[in-house]
């Protein structure tokens, strides 16, 4: 049983003061100022007056910002969906692997995840660019086929793989896949295997067992995997910045340009907080689903 803090006042106060101070002073105050700025106005070059105006939020409803929000949500959603489809079989295979193989497979999933995000994005640029490895292979295959066909295919045109929406989604899936696989594995591993065996024994196929037994049982875990992938994908800055083209800007890129080039901090602050609210809505939804899930199980 936990101790009441009054029984050991000195130690309690010493232990809580450092984390509490750090959290308040170096996290909540910075975010709080941004929140206040989102209701402020630019006065001169560097001064911002807090006027309580909603105009920054209203400005976020002007073209092209709603479109960018929808596009970001859409890109993050597509990324999450692809991660789920690609990651689920992997998580399933890891769950039912023998112990030794299990550790190695988990390590193999985690290693890229530990590698620097910027380096991973840079690696993708080298793969996808016009003179990248994919286009080189394609060029070589094209030349071979063309030789056989006697030049019937015409001139070689490289695939446009970089600086468009495709490369952004590709990059986000590449970066976020481990985020999806690890929570999925963790839920699937806690599942009661005898239920799966029962379903298979009673004549259900693997696919129908998957959808009728595994998915309902692991529902909450799948939801948390979706959320863990969706939130960072929605707020991603580096991937659209380096891999995207002029039309694949996401919310984070707009926020960055408001704070750096456009120097409109109040508007940037409002956009940041819209992103924070979207994140909280996502978390609240997940909490609701989890509660419903628990209620059903009880």
């Amino acid at each position: 049983m936990e101790q009441s803090w009054r029984q050991a006042k000195t130690i309690f106060v010493t232990m809580i003061s450092a984390p509490l101070f750090w959290l308040v002073f170096f996290f909540f105050i910075p975010l709080g100022i941004v929140w206040l700025y989102s209701f402020g106005e630019n006065r001169g070059l560097i001064d911002i007056a807090f006027t309580g105006t909603w105009s920054n939020y209203a400005h976020a409803l002007d073209d092209p910002y709603p479109g960018i929000f929808w596009k970001s949500i859409w890109i993050a959603g597509l990324t999450t969906f692809l991660c789920l489809v690609i990651g689920f079989p992997v998580a399933l295979a890891i769950t039912f692997a023998p112990d030794k193989a299990k550790s190695w497979l988990l390590l193999a999933v985690m290693l890229p995840f530990w590698t620097n995000l910027l380096i991973r994005t840079y690696a993708l640029i080298a793969v996808l660019r016009t003179e990248g490895y994919v286009n080189m292979t394609y060029h070589w295959l094209f030349d071979m086929t063309n030789k056989v066909a006697g030049g019937a295919l015409g001139d070689f045109t490289p695939l446009a793989l970089l600086h468009n929406n495709f490369s952004v989604v590709f990059g986000l899936v590449f970066v976020n896949l481990p985020f999806m696989i690890l929570p999925l594995y963790s839920t699937l591993d806690r599942m009661d295997r005898s239920l799966l065996e029962a379903s298979l024994d009673l004549g259900a196929g693997h696919i129908s067992t998957l959808f009728n037994v595994v998915v309902p049982l692991a529902g909450a875990g799948i939801m948390s995997g979706i959320l863990i992938t969706f939130i960072p994908a929605l707020g991603s800055y580096l991937t659209p910045d380096l891999l995207g083209g002029p039309d694949s800007q996401m919310i984070a890129n707009i926020i960055e340009s408001q704070f750096k080039r456009a120097n409109n901090w109040p508007f940037g602050a409002a956009l940041s907080f819209i992103l924070v609210y979207l994140t909280f809505i996502g978390i609240a939804l997940q909490g609701l689903i989890e509660r419903k899930d628990k209620g059903r199980a009880a």
């Binding site: 750090w22 399933l92 840079y122 080298a126 929605l234 984070a252 704070f259 924070v276």
Partner: protein, 291 residues
């Protein structure tokens, strides 16, 4: 790799749940493996390529490593990143462990709020936190210029601790859940002070989680680009920020060489962490022992 050898050893047809031994899943795993690893492996391979254009293999060379190691600003950036990661790790582990122990040990008013508050830095989008730090260090706590090294990195270290220590707290709390409170009470009954009981009984128990949390904090700090990008002034450059400006400029083998060095360091650290925690760390809480 492992899957194929496993299939060869046993010729018995796969059991109903041995998904790893079925070929569609094996093929899927191989494809995902290529997807995750091919870009990184090719990046490392081409750092040894003797060609500026970085496309066709021209022969083995180490000259880009020499070039990267002679690039003073790259070395400075690398040293800065390592210093920041070390300092923020030490602070994060201490503060994170304190938060975890307080939450585990005491009942107090506002506990739920404190607990929720600790979770917020984990979920808030990086860009929002970066913007917060930019504003904070511009308006509230302007970081003086021209401070001697390493004090000029102080603002970045502060920002890194803010997003790392809640992760450490989560890791340590998970470990504390398995601690038998009676042990601490026994120590106190036997005359140990509150502080002694904490340091001699609780801390040894959570030691593996301190190491794991520390490594997590170290990697998070080394990995961070967005928050550093917003926090750092124009004069301080960290490794990711430097690589970012090099990547924007062009794709050169020098960047490949620098990246390869960082990847090797990360892989070594990961293996070191696993050695510290024992091989069961990866399947922690799952694995065979609790089945």
């Amino acid at each position: 790799m492992t899957s194929t050898t496993a299939a060869k050893v046993r010729k018995i047809p796969p059991g109903p749940l041995e998904y790893l031994r079925r070929w569609p899943l094996q093929a899927w795993l191989v494809l995902v493996g290529i997807f995750l690893y091919a870009p990184l492996v090719s990046l490392m391979a081409f750092s040894f390529n003797d060609s500026k254009r970085n496309i066709v293999w021209q022969g083995f060379t180490l000259k880009y490593y020499v070039k990267a190691l002679n690039n003073d600003s790259l070395i400075t950036a690398f040293g800065n990143s390592m210093t920041i990661a070390l300092c923020s790790t030490v602070i994060s582990v201490v503060i994170g462990a304190m938060a975890a122990i307080v939450l585990w040990r005491f009942r107090f008013v506002g506990k739920t709020a404190f607990n929720a508050g600790l979770a917020i830095p984990i979920v808030v989008p990086e860009i929002c936190m970066g913007v917060g730090m930019l504003v904070f260090f511009a308006k509230v706590l302007p970081w003086p210029h021209n401070l001697p090294w390493p004090l000029d990195l102080g603002n970045i270290i502060i920002a890194h601790v803010s997003f790392s220590f809640p992760f450490v707290a989560v890791v340590v709390r998970a470990r504390l859940a398995s601690f038998n409170r009676e042990l601490e009470e026994a120590a106190k009954d036997l005359g140990a002070s509150e502080f002694r009981a904490l340091m001699d009984v609780v801390v040894p128990h959570i030691q593996p989680s301190l190491i794991a949390g520390g490594l997590l904090a170290f990697t998070l700090s080394l990995d961070d680009f967005v928050i550093t990008f917003f926090t750092a002034g124009p004069d301080t450059i960290t490794f990711p920020v430097k690589v970012y400006s090099m990547v924007r400029f062009s794709v050169t083998p020098e960047v490949n060489a620098a990246s390869t060095i960082l990847i090797v360091i990360t892989v070594l650290l990961t293996f070191l962490a696993l050695k510290f925690q024992g091989s069961g760390a990866l399947t922690a809480g799952h694995g065979a022992d609790d089945k």
